[in-house]
């Protein structure tokens, strides 16, 4: 069984790392949680009863650790990208840093699709934690509702409720904010950053390569969210062509939000 565990852990560790990063927004916490998940799995492997798959069991351990993580518990606001953009613009070191990453890192490319995944991670942190976990498990990591009930130890009704409300809230937030799918949307960060990192590109041409943006006027909102989640499914935030850049954005946003929490508690 130990050998099976090691094999399964190796096979799902990329997904697990991405999942935890998207919940905590912290590379350090992600590494700690993934490591602790492995240690717990090894020490408790004899309690594994085969009532679920090993992968489900591993994700259950990791999800419980993530739920205990303070950074995961802190919830952000829907306008997180506005707040963090203002902080970045006010910080004279921010753009030199990111341009340095772009110039020197082999994973420093700016791609709109990667920024869409970064953005979804940020927005998902404005949902209640259980909703965020449910929508990730179901829509990004392909777990079934009955598997999520085992991972989170909650009823099928609650999983369905969390999924439904998470989707409804995300649709509403992106519809109000995302200029890729709504001309009235207030957030143009994709095009703005693409202009900074890829000044020779024509944003409209690049935008039209993305199905979600291309069909936005015709597509129903549920379908647009599915297309957005499909983009997220296809991108590993640690392995992608622009992962260093997007992780830098994510850690920046986390630190900005943490400073806000500290100030509000003072």
């Amino acid at each position: 069984m130990r050998a099976q565990l090691d094999t399964e852990f190796e096979q799902c560790s990329s997904q697990l790392r991405a999942y935890i990063l998207r919940i905590t927004a912290s590379v350090q916490d992600t590494e700690n949680i993934v490591q602790e998940t492995y240690l717990k799995a090894v020490s408790n492997i004899e309690t594994f009863k085969s009532q679920s798959t090993l992968k489900t069991w591993i994700f259950a351990i990791a999800s419980n650790l993530a739920k205990d993580n303070l950074r995961a518990q802190k919830r952000w606001t829907e306008n997180v990208t506005d707040i963090c953009k203002a902080k970045a613009l006010a910080d004279p070191d921010y753009f030199p840093e990111v341009l340095h990453i772009q110039a020197t890192s082999p994973q420093g490319l700016f791609e709109i699709k990667e920024h869409i995944t970064f953005c979804l991670t940020c927005i998902s942190k404005s949902l209640p934690l259980e909703q965020q976990i449910c929508i990730f498990l179901k829509e990004i990591y392909d777990f079934k509702v009955n598997e999520i009930t085992k991972i989170l130890n909650i009823s099928e009704a609650m999983v369905k409720y969390y999924l439904h409300t998470a989707r409804a809230k995300m649709i509403d937030i992106f519809d109000k904010r995302c200029a890729l799918i709504n001309k009235e949307g207030v957030c143009h960060q994709c095009s703005e950053l693409n202009g900074v990192f890829n000044p020779k590109q024509n944003f409209e041409i690049e935008k039209n390569k993305i199905e979600m943006a291309r069909i936005a006027e015709k597509g129903d909102k549920q379908h647009l969210l599915d297309l957005r989640l499909q983009i997220v499914r296809e991108i590993d935030p640690f392995q992608s062509a622009g992962s260093d850049l997007q992780i830098h954005h994510l850690e920046h946003n986390r630190k900005v939000m943490e400073n806000i929490f500290v100030k509000s508690e003072e």
Binding site: A157, K160, Y161, L163, H164, T165
Partner: protein
């Protein structure tokens, strides 16, 4: 005993009924919902989520739990925040909240494997009721909308893909 003679047993299929008496007024609605009781209960007890699915509620602040105080704003009287206390809280069975003038009660009855009957009744009254009765708007349409919204939302969640 109250139930046997009240509007509670008469209101069915999403149509509200109001019975007016000298010192009280009681409005009820009842509707069958194809969903399990847990989903209906979850929708009725998540305060902050109400305005998303329920077009008759503008906001509910507080925790819907036994003995807790909540602040409710409804479309019936948008400028007024009703300060209420959760009086009964039996998971997946019965919930009630109210103030000194009235009580609203929600019940969920299981009808077999896949359907529940949701009922809602509000009784307002007291010795002073005749003096302020004319200032209280009718509840019927709002009750029917509440029941219809709950049915739609609960069935959508219940029918979601597994």
């Amino acid at each position: 005993m109250l139930m046997a003679t009240s509007t509670f047993s008469m209101a069915q299929n999403g149509k509200a009924i109001t019975v007016k008496k000298t010192f009280s007024r009681e409005t009820s609605v009842s509707i069958d919902i194809k969903a399990d009781a847990a989903i209906v209960w979850t929708l009725l007890t998540n305060a902050a989520d109400f305005p998303r699915w329920n077009s008759t509620i503008l906001s509910i602040e507080g925790d819907i739990k036994q003995g807790e105080k909540i602040k409710l704003k409804s479309t019936l009287d948008p400028k007024r925040a009703f300060k209420l206390i959760v009086k009964e809280f039996e998971p997946e069975i019965k919930l009630s909240w109210g103030d000194g003038k009235g009580t609203r009660t929600y019940t969920i009855s299981k009808n077999g494997k896949e359907t529940v009957t949701f009922s809602m009744t509000e009784k307002i009254g007291g010795l002073m009721f005749p003096m302020y009765a004319k200032y209280i708007p009718p509840f019927d349409k709002s009750f029917e909308q509440f029941a219809a919204d709950l049915k739609k939302e609960a069935e959508t969640i219940y029918n979601a893909k597994n």
